[in-house]
Amino acid sequence: MALHESSYEPKSGIAKWMDERLPVGRLMHTQFVDFPTPRNLNYLWTFGGILTFFLMAQIVTGIVLAMHYQPSADGAFDSIERIRRDVNFGWLIRNLHAVGASMFFLAAYVHIFRGLYYGSYKAPREVLWIIGVLIFIVMMATAFMGYSLPWGQMSFWAVTVITNLFSSLDSIFKGLGTTIVEWLWGGYAVTGATLNRFYSLHYLLPFVIAGLVGLHLWALHIVGQNSPTGLDVKTKSDAVPMHPYATSKDAVGMFLFLILFAWFAFFLPDYLGHADNYIPANPLVTPPHIVPEWYFLPYYAILRAIPSKLFGVIAMFSSIGILMFVPWLDTARVRSTKYRPVYKWFFWLFVLTCLALGYLGSKPPEGAYVLWARIFTFYYFAHFLIVMPLVGWLETPKKVPGSITEAVLGPAGAQGAAAATKKA
């Protein structure tokens, strides 16, 4: 960015020597100290940092768990019990990892809804947004495979149900679905072979996420951050250096979130899980209600809302895939929902829809639950395919301030800031 000049000056001899060969210090200083961040960011903008923290925390606790875990149908469940009972602080590391996964998703959902509310996907941030959706998809795959590893009843049956979904492809091309399912399982049923490959991928995918996060940050630092007004940084007075301004706010947001994390990890470690997963996997006994982890419940509700298995699967995957097209589905002239009096209502209706689908996903698919799941599934897709294009086109947005500075200081303050810049 033109506004963005590096104030980096290598001080020591080693730093000067390094700066002429591989300027890592300069890169970090330019991108994470000097980087201009909008001066009006609220606490919802701290979730990017929180997510980075959770990715690292999950990798660290996961590596320690992997030292004690045995990925086999016979040994997996027992090895986790050994971690809980016999490994020094094993109970703590295991709780941090299991609860950490839930907190990771909670933070990701806040981050995604923040992006949707403030129009952070709109030009020029389309690629940034799409990489974010890709991260979310890989995160879901990682979490799903991670949940299979304790090899309890819910692990086993969730794997069985979800992998079996691919068999619906048989109705498009005979034998295709069955072939894919057997390929995923590594056999003709969910066995230890399935567990082994899931474990291998569960260890691999976090590093894929880390790579994608690198691209996400790169794209972010090319286009700059969006802001609550939906305005970009245009003048010097619109921005503050990332350090110490954004970093000090990020630290407060992160520690507040860590309090929530600690609350669950220490006092409610099993609250977000399912009791059935403390029963070792048994292929001969099906649990009465097979439910996924809470963060998958809305998609599970969509899957079961559609009467046809194939179309249910298509709807479930589309519900995430559709996010990729949001930059082009939203036709509004302004970014931030703050200045969109009509769309604002639809946004909160969409949030309510996601919560309702989550609740319905946890209930058995019978009676009124099915009807409501269908209604909310309809709205979920209608929000993207009908509301976003139409409301954006028909609605008259409120007046947006001329700049971030004006939004913060008022018109007079903005003129003062502009004059000060000119003088300087």
Partner: protein
Amino acid sequence: MQTAKPACRVAAMVLACLSISLAVSAPGRAAETSEHATERQPWTFAGFTGQYDRPQLQRGFQVFQQVCTACHGLKRVRFRNLAEPGGPEFPVEAVKALAVSWPYQVSGELDDEGNPIDRLPGLADPIIGPYKNDKQARAAQNGALPPDLSLVVKARSLESHAPWYSHWLWMLADVATGYQEGGADYVYALLTGYHEAPAGVEVSDGMYYNAAFPGHQLAMPPPLYADSPIEYQPDAGAKSTMEQNARDVTAFLAWAADPSLDARKRLGWQVLLYLVITTLLLFLVKRRIWGRLKH
């Protein structure tokens, strides 16, 4: 000031919704739970401050030893765990004596000539039940399998019957109070839930009616009796009744399923204290830094 007004309105709306749905749902919820005879019990280890009660765990072990071990094992708990901090904390010597007098022997090991042998358990061995494997257990129990009890309290839960409009409130209340004792509540309800079958309910041969069990027909005969409770030592800390036996053995099984609970909650408060203080300091730092700007 302009931004504060809608925020107040939202807060008022949320408060109104909260009170209405709580008022509407409270009677319904109570009716539902009493029907299934599963009520939340006052456990000493409940909530975010609760810890195990040492004498209760010791009484619970006595009930487990005299009643449950007839059919069930506790294979994920080792004898040495009974003497470790955070558990019943029996003296090591007593546990050693207990292990070598255990009625069931460790099997499947080989002697120097390669012949399978049975031997007495020691401190490092699991607390085994009467059966060498599931097949033997089923053969002895008319086809029913008495499960290992190491994790039974964690592997059971109370299902919420709250209606949709208050479901989320009860969830928030459980999170705020640190409620995680659904499994213990269920096990207690099951142990005290044996009744005569109500009129019109037919109980199959070899099955027993239990109000707490899903489907109400259970192969396990009533393990505790109201007219002949387990005999407690005079210094055991509680008078022995059937309900007390059920409560004590449930607490013991809760410890068996979650032996690190005491340490976990203690460390939790230290971590929280650190986090809250650091958050406050960070907030003051942030305010000082942003104070340089108009914002």
